[in-house]
């Protein structure tokens, strides 16, 4: 029996996740070549490191195919319905911080908050004959947020990348995306709405509530948690 730990398979998120475990005496290293998606935790043969796309880690956790996983709060909340029932949040890891925000063109001086966005959407729809389009990949989070705020007359359009460019290309009038510094938004002449972000996200260690925890996995986790200085009961 091994404990399966899902980690992001590339980029800064992977490096930072490796560092986080390494800093706590559980060094992780790629085990094959640099291009091979295989890694291992030193001195912990009973922990199996599984490298996955950060976006797929929520699904694997929810299904219980991995016991632990590192991915952003944004991914878990967007992709798992009733996420509290599917995963337990063990610890925020202090990196990968980003806010999910709504941004509009800078020259929309009449739109500062959500009330303005709602009013502008009504006028836009009357003028153009279609709803004001907001480009995003976070459909569920954005929809729930705007519904709670009572914003109407908008529609979401899917954008899986280069979302900031959709406004200039006139495939959307506004965007909802993850940002850490806001630099890309400013470079594309967009401004963040003056309201709390939809979500403050950061890389987080999660535990699957489903999955096979009997036959050893629970004990391996308890010993690993001790090493990492985490609460083994979470």
């Amino acid at each position: 029996m091994t404990l399966k730990l899902g980690l992001p398979s590339k980029g800064r998120l992977m490096d930072k996740a490796f560092d986080w475990f390494g800093d706590r005496g559980c060094a992780i290293a790629l085990s094959g070549g640099a291009r091979e998606y295989a890694a291992a935790m030193e001195g912990q043969p009973d922990v199996e490191v599984v490298l996955l796309s950060a976006g797929e880690i929520p699904r694997e956790l929810a299904a219980g195919r991995i016991h632990l996983g590192v991915t952003g709060t944004d991914m878990v909340r967007e992709r798992i319905g009733h996420w509290q029932d599917a995963v337990a949040q063990i610890a925020p890891l202090g990196f990968g911080q980003a806010d999910l925000v709504i941004a509009v063109p800078q020259f929309w001086v009449d739109v500062t908050g959500l009330d303005d966005l709602d009013a502008a959407a009504a006028a836009f729809r009357a003028q153009h004959g279609h709803r004001l389009r907001i480009a995003t990949k976070y459909h569920r989070l954005v929809r729930e947020f705007l519904r709670a705020a009572g914003v109407a007359d908008y529609q979401l359009v899917d954008s899986q990348g280069a979302t900031e460019g959709t406004v200039k290309n006139e495939t959307a009038e506004a965007i909802a995306d993850i940002t850490s510094t806001g630099e890309t938004l400013r470079a594309n002449h967009l401004r963040i709405l003056d309201c709390e972000p939809i979500l403050r996200s950061q890389a987080t260690l999660w535990r699957a509530r489903a999955g096979d925890w009997d036959g050893g996995a629970r004990e391996i986790w308890q010993s690993l948690a001790g090493k990492l200085g985490l609460d083994p009961k979470r």
Partner: protein, 371 residues
């Protein structure tokens, strides 16, 4: 306790029983495709419908939705082909995502009855309610009714600008947003942060200069639209607040909750100070009389001004629901109302009222012709 959706045979029997009653009232049986074009529904309900309905697509037809109800296709069929008054009935599965409550079924039967094009609104309202009630037989249910037309009339009659009334009417079905707007327009809520600074800037320079200085134009919303809204904001800042007594009257109106006759008296009292709602109150009076003429006992019904308000967008008059008295876990066994606003939004203002029964809930109550 009988779990919902586990007894298909009983549900089908209940559906057949209800269908027969609706058909015997002279309704024309109609069908609707399970796959509905998503565009119409998205246009009507916006993103909210995506949270409730299953969306799928294919490369030829684009986005499609598994029918979340029969009302929209029934209205479209009527607008396309029928003139005058028609009664329709249908029976079939509808599909609803249950993101908030995974225990509720995502697919269930609906049997409906719709009256379109009837001149006498009170009589048609009463006909639908009485027929739905009859089809529920001896099922242990309680009924609630409401009338969204009262709040609409009161809002239209407020002493304020057309722009503010339009903003309020747009959010008639979103109680929290409606209230927030009321507080703003009544002067009790603070002006949003940044608005004061914006208005000050607007006093010192033209709207066009302000917009031009803020950044390059990008996107489909043009500078002219931003300038137009700036002028509207400046005008709104000069608008006097909605008088305190009108806000209180709206509160009074929304608080009415009683048996229908007592509620009517209360509404008539309110209408003395708020004559704009008088026609809507008299429509309610006519409806109550029509219900009694249909043999409905008003004493066992509760009236609530706000009934159905947050869940029945486009229902703009009479609304009703039947609930399993002893089973708070079950969804309403029947619901319906007048949706003139829906037919208008779909192309032609045709008076329309209807109701649906859920045979699965009926069967879970052990009813539907079986008792």
């Amino acid at each position: 306790m009988t779990p919902i959706a586990s007894n298909l045979a009983a549900q089908r029997a209940a559906a057949a029983y209800v269908s027969a009653i609706f058909a015997s009232a002279g309704a024309l049986p109609i069908e609707a495709d399970v796959l509905q074009p998503a565009g119409t529904l998205l246009d009507l309900y916006g993103e909210d419908i995506r949270a409730r309905a299953y969306v799928t697509s294919d490369p030829m037809r684009g986005e499609l939705m598994l029918r979340p109800d029969f009302t929209v296709p029934a209205v479209l069929g009527h607008l396309e082909s029928a003139q005058g008054m028609m009664r329709y009935t249908y029976s079939g599965a509808v599909f609803r995502k249950q993101e908030d409550d995974p225990d509720r079924p995502a697919e269930f039967l609906q049997v409906g009855y719709e009256v379109m094009g009837a001149e006498d609104a009170a009589a048609a309202d009463a006909e639908v309610f009485a027929l739905v009630k009859r089809a529920l037989g001896h099922a242990p249910v309680r009924a609630a009714i409401g009338d969204i037309g009262l709040l609409r009339a009161a809002t239209q009659g407020l002493q304020t600008t057309e722009r503010r009334k339009r903003a309020l009417l747009r959010h008639l079905w979103r109680p929290r947003r409606y209230r927030a707007l009321m507080e703003r327009f009544g002067g009790s809520a603070a002006v949003p942060a940044g608005r004061e600074a914006l208005l000050a800037a607007l006093r010192g320079s033209s709207a066009a200069a302000l917009v031009a200085a803020a950044g390059p134009q990008n996107g489909k919303r043009r500078a002219g639209e931003v300038e137009a809204r700036l002028l509207a904001l400046a005008e709104d800042a000069e608008t006097p607040p909605i008088p305190e007594r009108e806000l209180r009257m709206i509160e009074d109106l929304l608080a009415v909750r009683d048996n229908p006759r007592a509620a009517l008296e209360r509404l008539r009292d309110i209408a003395v100070d708020m004559p704009v709602i008088e026609p809507a109150v008299e429509r309610l009076a006519l409806r109550l009389s029509a219900l009694e003429a249909q043999g409905v006992d008003l004493d066992v019904i509760e009236f609530e001004t706000t009934f159905g308000r947050s869940s029945m967008e486009y229902y703009d008059g009479f609304v009703f629901g039947f609930y399993a008295g002893s089973r708070a876990d079950l969804p309403p066994v029947a619901s319906g109302g007048r949706y003139d606003a829906l037919t208008a939004a779909l192309g032609r203002p045709v008076p329309a009222v209807g109701g649906v029964i859920r045979p699965d809930v009926l069967a879970a109550l052990g009813a539907g012709g079986s008792i």
